[in-house]
Amino acid sequence: MKIRQKRLMFIVAGVLGVGVAAWLVLNALKKNVSLYFTPTQVMNKEAPQGRSFRIGGLVEAGSLQREKDGLSVKFIITDTVKSMPVIYKGILPDLFKEGKGVVAQGKMEADGVMHADEVLAKHDENYMPPEAKDALQRAQVAMSGVAAASAITVVK
């Protein structure tokens, strides 16, 4: 074996070794690397008790309530399986909307409500002009109409 082939083998083996080590470390730290817990994880008591953590999911449609002071809000974060109420006092990001992604940081109190001191909006990776979005929504409504109609005919 030539010296340069030996060096190549050494480098390949080294990169593989470091890669495996990194994979093991990241796997062990999996919980800590993730930015937030889902409501399901919180219900399963996987989230830290008695100290601050982040919870992420969607703002449940129709759950947003503004308090009289104009600054406090109550809403429910859901992962469509489990959901959790959140209270927050402060300015919400512009993209905060019902049905959209959100990450809230705070402490879970004894009443089962998260008292958040930071609320961040999470948006998705799709970019399109407003007209395209409208068309998409209309198509979805039409599709659900078709689905409902076919459901009715099946029932008949």
């Binding site: 340069r4 990169v15 930015l35 937030y36 961040l120 999470k122 970019y127 399109m128 407003p130």
Partner: protein, 245 residues
């Protein structure tokens, strides 16, 4: 026609070739920057969710892609330098590092500018942002380690090891949004297609090409000065017109 690659692995022949190649990359880069920015600002429509602010993506995504891509190229050259003991490969790795660091910095900087109005925070310690920050530190580490050793050949070997070990970070950056819960959204450009309006794509990919051409051009210019600096005591350098005594 077969190209004799070994001929151009000699710094003395590559010096001239690099000089002739520079305008072929620099001029298209400048033209494509103008075209890409024009499409981005005047042709691409506003986004349904984010309005006008999303337009920073046209800089943010090309810079991020190149920061990762250039790191792999740099590590590749560093590995070639170690394996074949070629001086030019190591010089190329050294020449790539500042440009890669620049793109990593632009990626983090535009990301912060984008994150504040959209997410509500300049910075969060999520896996995507943190691993990109580590990439910037790896570039800094490579440059600093190389600069701290006086003998250039020893510096090449030490920095090459750092570059090769650090390349493990690149797939972590790429897959971070898949493997963990992050505030950063998933990839827009996927192997299965791109979830983006056509004019937006045109701007983003034009600027990606422009950034790549720019990176090649400045790397070639930089490697020429590195060659001159390291070979300053050789006969061929002293015979160069532009050196003159």
């Amino acid at each position: 026609m077969a190209i004799n690659w070994f001929k151009y692995s000699a710094p003395s022949t590559f010096y001239g070739l690099a000089g002739r190649l520079v305008p072929w990359f620099a001029v298209p880069a400048a033209v494509l920057f103008v075209i890409g920015l024009y499409i981005g600002f005047f042709v691409a429509p506003k986004d349904a969710v984010q309005g006008e602010a999303y337009r920073i993506i046209f800089i943010h995504v090309p810079a991020s892609i190149l920061s990762m891509f250039l790191y792999l190229v740099m590590a590749g050259y560093a590995a070639l330098g170690l394996i074949f003991n070629t001086r030019l490969s190591s010089m190329m790795a050294t020449a790539l590092a500042p440009t890669g660091a620049l793109f990593a910095f632009i990626s983090l900087w535009t990301g912060a500018l984008w994150g504040k109005p959209m997410w509500g925070a300049w910075w969060v310690w999520d896996a995507r942002l943190t691993s990109e920050l580590i990439l910037l530190f790896l570039y800094f580490g490579f440059i600093a380690l190389h600069a701290s050793i006086d003998d250039p050949r020893r510096a090449d070997r030490a920095a090459a090891l750092l570059a090769i070990v650090g390349s493990v970070n690149v797939p972590i950056i790429y897959f971070s949004v898949k493997w963990w819960n992050t505030l950063h959204q998933g990839s827009t450009i996927k192997f299965s297609g791109t979830s983006m309006h056509v004019a937006m794509q045109q701007s983003m990919f034009t600027l990606l090409l422009a950034c790549w051409l720019y990176a090649v051009a400045v790397t070639l210019v930089r490697v020429r000065s590195i060659i001159l600096e390291r070979e300053r005591n050789t006969l061929w350098v002293s015979e160069l017109k532009e050196v003159g005594l």
